[in-house]
């Protein structure tokens, strides 16, 4: 048990953390699942953006939230990258 919780996961940790971040970022901008599977109270930010931009043609509002979402994600990715190293994903993908 000591082996499993102690030394073993260390080499795979960057990959695990990069995976977590990728899932988080992808989920943040998800539009379809809350639309189809979610109830009226499960609206996510993407649904709001879509409603404003396509529904009520309120483009300035829509783009403002988009920018806020993008900034939030950039800050999160940047911070995460400083401590965990997201570039691991790209490294492992491009060095195959």
């Amino acid at each position: 048990m000591a082996g499993i919780s102690g030394s073993y996961p260390a080499p795979s940790l960057p990959g695990v953390s990069a995976g977590c971040l990728l899932v988080f970022v992808l989920t943040c901008g998800t539009y379809l699942p809350p639309m189809i599977l979610g109830g009226p109270n499960n609206e996510m930010i993407a649904n709001l953006i879509f409603k404003r931009v396509i529904g009520t043609l309120d483009w300035p509002f829509g783009s403002a939230i988009s920018v806020i979402l993008l900034l939030l994600l950039v800050i999160i990715v940047y911070t995460y990258n400083r401590y965990m190293g997201i570039n691991q994903i790209f490294k492992s993908l491009s060095k195959g």
Binding site: G29, L32, I45, I49, F50, V53
Partner: protein, 266 residues
Amino acid sequence: MKNLISGWTLIKLYTILVYAWMFAPIVAVVILAFNPQQFGTFPLEGFSFKWFVKLSQNSTILEAFKNSLVLGSLTAIFSTAIGVPAALAFIRYEFKGKEFLNTILIAPIMIPEVILGVALLLFIRWLQQPKSFVLLLIGHVVLTLPYVLLIVQARLVGIKREYEEAALSLGANPFQTFKEITFPLLAPAIFAGMLFAFTISFDDVTATLFWATAQNQTVPVQIFSMLRTSISPEINALGAVMIVLTISIPLAAGYVARRFARGNTP
């Protein structure tokens, strides 16, 4: 020792549960597509191709299918046409700002599709152009380019420079070298990239909802608008067709690519 065995059993169980969680809904859709009743119940009360027949008579769906196929193919062609030279430049040459440019090209993977959708829409409005098929195509190329780039780069790293250098030192010009040496070695990756681009374009909903006009609806967008109005078993049939297509095309292509690769591995 006994503890270890039960640990493995748990992992096996867990694995099975994960797969069931992922694939049970897909299996359910395919099974319900053959259900003759309007409302799906298990076990099935019969077996029919009724909804598939109805589907093939639906002109909106057929039109959307045509759009999706054309769009997917063009996206695949353009994405690889841009992605392959870019990958060559990033792997084979040194220039200023290389890392930065590479990151920028790969960034669309990390940016939510909604933001890409809004951004391109605003951009096209700024240029005072109407929404069109070309806009949809440009958008899909942006969405798929990172995947093509990553796949081709990965393969290119594995191709030794010595092959190219040998060709060059034997008197081939750079273009001949690419045509005779690099391209054949790279072909499986280019093919895989095209396939990726096609499948992603064929499946995309979120961004396409922003860019599509009434004239160029794609199949997923059509399914989405059908879902909003009613839950018709036709959707199950259409879903089954989409699933079969998106699974069988890569499988068939993978088979072809493997035969192809066996012919000219160095």
